[in-house]
Amino acid sequence: MKQDARLRAATREEWRERVRAELEDEDPDVELARRTPAGAVALAVYGPEKGPVGDRYEGVRPDAGWVATETVDLGDDDAATRASDARRLGIESLRLVDTSGRADVAGFVEALDGAGARFVATCPRILEAALRSHATCVGAIDPFRASTLAPVSAPIDLAVDARAIELVPAGVLALEVDASGLRERGGDAVLELAWFLASVVERFRANAGIALRYAVRLATGRDVFEEVAKLRAARALAGTLGHMLEQERWSVEIRAVGLRLALAEVDTATNAVRASSQAVTAALGGADAIEVLPFEGATGRALRLSRTTHAVLRDEAWLDAVADPTGGAWYVEDLTDQLARAAWERFRDIERAGGLARFVATGALESCLAEGRSARDAALADGSLVVVGVNRYTETTGRAGR
């Protein structure tokens, strides 16, 4: 295609000179640079000089599309109804938890199995019961999960991995690193990635070279491009780790779940926008499974929207059409590289401290999370962290939806 000769190219230096004049002689790369929530530096403009770094990020996503997932608590009275509704609205994978510890897993699974659901078992008991019922089931066993959800004093039982692997046929996904809870408690994207690396290595050590297939569950927060870059970095780091562990059949499934902390407790209807943003971000980042949060708790309309969002994004917005659609974007590639490097450094810190179990046991994790919470509270208070309807645009003039 011939372009008009009068439209000449511009260099980054020309751009800098012009902006410098607009900024009264300030350097735009300093004056306009901003930090992302996880501390990466974002410049006001990027060009080819900040391109992809080697092959590390080439093809960071092996397939287009995702599995629509929803978590069901088997301890809830309406668990069966809820799961059935979810299946009817296109949810392909049901992530099973049991907060009561006494739920009839087999009965639940058998009732739904005919509908062709894939179950994701979060504890060996559920995994075992589901497999006994001949359901299509994968594991999401994570001995460190409890540490991410609350401070724990009990020792971490790493042998649970071996039991889980025994339960499933060879090669079937059984293990997960669930780092999403860290974000809910104040951790940032870099900590999530470092946690993933440290957890796999720790469990590899404890279980004599068991790695095979893993899933990593990450929370998608509000910062679109940082979260996209995080998901891409997770895949790149997974590739690096598999290479180092010399695992021939190594693969990592990335599961994304919306960050509940990013939803507001007031003006909850606006959370529908935030939940949509989290889902879009996960899709752009190349998550293999996506879980959309209901925007206002478990109301009928919120649950329905959390389920139909998948179909809107796939069938109407074509977000599953192209793998890694942001690949090659100078800004995204640079952010991906920054996050991957920062996560690797944090991982090395954990390793220096004696590994993940020790990192948890010594309270280093809790102080890290507490620091994150304090920083967030301070930012909310001084307005540097804006939450629409909470500390800006607080005037709610509209009628609440019924």
Binding site: A9, V45, G47, A262, D267, S277, W318, G327, T397, R402
Partner: protein
């Protein structure tokens, strides 16, 4: 590897460890191409960026692919400009003020259909339209009330007005002057895009030639007296709403733009006097990456198309645009999905670097927005601005293999299809109602067929259809009450300049005063002039062949029967997103696609025939009876009555 052989990770630097094996998947996707005919690949890679000039482009530099301004949203985000207006000036004013207090940054005025077509609210032909799809403005008193408490020297105001552009612009100028704001301080946009009215939106009043003269007059006036005001908003929005794909929308909008540039030059203006104030208006549909590519390609193409005019001012080649999320994509069932749709579209608009944005409300397929739904719509933009972090960097998708390739594809599609044909036909103004309509009609029919067959999924309509109706509060406008209030206000002398429909107006519209290099007239004289315009709704007896109106000519067609504006002729305006949504909801049938209000509207629009002015001109007769307000009529009507 055994656990004992693990490396000492603590000592390994990031650059010392290799990446995983590269993954390459670079085949064609097993799916149908996009509606624009672009075949998507399963993945894109470095080779897809080769051959483009993307590495040479920077924001703020021609051809502005990466945004018209150097730092884009990093220093100033887009303007949150919600299109709104309903009922009376008082109610709309209260709505605007509430929205401004809640974070909206600019105003976008929706006028009702009666005002669009130049009727006063008490005219019998528009009884059903008053205040329904926009605010009713009859007089300077209404305009005064509309902007009461809104400082026009600091508020950018966009007005969607085309047919009746002269009186509305005049009223706005006078309302500002009464606030003590001189015209040269006014910022905002008047839509003033009459070409797309002939093609899709249908609220034109005069035939093409005099309509284009008015456009040129507005250019002249604003370039002389309102230098900060955009004299036109060249609109593709309504084309996409009527069924056009992104490439067709782009092609015809740019072709319209070229026609306006020629009109400005024919009006005797130097290109740099008016071209920097040309603005554009695009729809943003659900195919997010296609929309991003469309906006990038639009800027590239506009810079290329303007080059032959040899502008000295670089702003003349800079395409600046307002965007609105698609009304067509909204559904009347399962309306909460509309929040997701609007969010995706809004994200695409800002990643494509729009200058201002309207986001639709979730209930707009049912009715005009309530305070509740308007808040979610506005917050969609505020969340993007303040929570998503996307303002940090200009053109965050710049360099993306997929986006750069798609940008070039969009440019190629546009150039390969419509633009050359438009040139062959002699410009957009000369083939209204002819070939210009054909492309989007065909696309629309194909799209509706795919929806009806289920091939194209619309969630809540032909997939995951809900068992029961949504429980959302909707805003209902009591049209009779609006008219009653306006009538009583008029009797009390509130609308001093409004006259009953039986009043005799001056016979023909007068051109606005010849603009001068600078507005040297005393303000009082300017005000008087504007007031004169404000009081005088345009006279609608222009002749169908585009010649100057005359009584003799009009008398020649006294046999013509003027249809009322209700029914079919009113439905012609259904491509207007605002009016379309509310009206169609009540008419949704059980067919899958008809449950989508916009689809229904588009179908209705396709039934009508556009008036073909050229064909009626052979009779040399005016299309209306003397003393009546304008009517648009099809070739059939004119022929049968002749």
């Amino acid at each position: 590897m055994s656990a004992n052989d693990l490396p000492d990770f603590a000592s390994l630097d990031f650059d010392d460890v290799a990446g995983g094996p590269p993954w390459v998947l670079h085949g064609r996707r097993d799916s149908s191409p996009t509606p624009e005919g672009i075949e998507l690949l399963a993945a894109y890679g470095p080779s897809d960026r080769e051959g483009t000039s993307s590495t040479d482009w920077m924001p703020g530099f021609a051809p502005y692919v990466r945004g018209p301004y150097t730092t884009m949203y990093a220093r100033r985000p887009w303007t949150v400009r919600q299109y709104a207006g309903f009922s009376t000036a008082e109610e709309s004013n209260a709505f605007y003020r509430k929205n401004l207090a809640a974070g909206q940054r600019g105003l976008s005025i929706a006028f009702d259909l009666a005002t669009h077509r130049g009727y006063d609210s008490d005219h019998e032909r528009v009884a059903g339209d008053v205040g329904m799809a926009g605010v009713a403005i009859d007089s300077i008193e209404d305009m005064r009330i509309l902007f009461d408490g809104i400082p026009l020297d600091r508020m950018s105001v966009s007005m969607t007005m085309n047919g009746a552009v002269l009186p509305i612009l005049a009223l706005y100028v006078v309302a500002a002057e009464e606030q003590g704001v001189a015209p040269e301080k006014l910022t905002g946009t008047i839509q003033n895009d009459i070409l797309k009215e002939f093609m899709v939106r249908n609220t034109y009043i005069y035939p093409p030639a005099p309509s284009m003269r008015i456009v040129g007059d507005v250019f002249r006036y604003t370039s002389a007296c309102m230098p900060r005001f955009n004299s036109i908003s060249i609109s593709g929005y309504h084309m996409q709403e009527a069924g056009a794909t992104a490439d067709v929308e782009l092609a015809y909008t740019l072709a319209d733009g070229l026609e306006y540039v020629r009109a400005g030059i024919e009006a005797g203006l130097d290109v740099d006097r008016f071209a920097p104030r040309l603005s554009f208006f695009f729809a943003i549909g659900m195919n997010a990456f296609m929309e991003v590519a469309k906006l990038r390609a639009a800027r590239l193409l506009w810079a290329e198309l303007m080059a032959p005019f040899e502008p000295k001012d670089e702003r003349s080649s800079m395409l600046r645009t307002h965007c609105q999320t698609s009304g067509w994509s909204l559904t009347a069932t399962d309306v909460w999905n509309n929040v997701v749709r609007t969010h995706v579209e809004a994200l695409a608009a800002v990643l494509g670097h729009t200058q201002s944005l309207h986001t639709n409300s979730l209930d707009e397929a049912l009715a005009l927005p309530t305070d509740f739904s308007a808040r979610i719509a506005r917050n969609t933009q505020l969340v993007l601005q303040d929570e998503s972090g996307i303002c940090r960097t200009a053109d965050p998708l710049g360099g993306s293999y997929y986006v750069e390739r798609l940008t070039q594809e969009a440019r190629r599609e546009e150039l390969g299809s419509t633009s050359p044909r438009s040139k062959e036909l002699g410009g957009m103004a000369r083939h209204r109602g002819g070939p210009a309509e054909a492309p989007h009609r065909g696309v629309r029919r194909a799209r509706e067929a795919r929806i009806d067959s289920g091939e194209r999924v619309i969630v809540g309509v032909n997939k995951h259809r809900p068992d029961r109706a949504d429980d959302v509060p909707v805003l209902k406008i009591d049209n009779a009450a609006v008219r009653a209030r306006r009538s009583s206000a008029s009797k009390l002398g509130r609308s001093a300049t409004a006259r009953p429909s039986s009043a005799r107006w001056p016979r023909s519209p007068r051109s606005p005063p010849e603009p001068r290099a600078t507005c040297s007239r005393p303000r009082s004289r300017r005000r008087a002039s504007a007031r004169r315009w404000a009081r005088c709704p345009p006279r609608w007896n222009a002749c169908s062949d585009g010649t100057a109106p005359s009584r003799a000519c009009c008398a020649a067609c006294t046999r013509t029967r003027c249809p009322p504006t209700t029914g079919r002729s009113r439905r012609r305006a259904s491509a207007s997103p605002r009016s379309r949504s509310a009206r169609d909801a009540s008419r949704a049938s059980s067919s899958p696609s008809s449950a989508r209000t916009a689809t229904t509207a588009a179908r209705r629009s396709s039934r009508r025939r556009s008036p073909t002015w050229a064909s009626t001109s052979t009779s040399g007769r005016c299309s209306r009876r003397p003393g009546r307000r304008p009517v648009r009529r099809s070739r059939t009507t004119c022929t049968s009555s002749a």
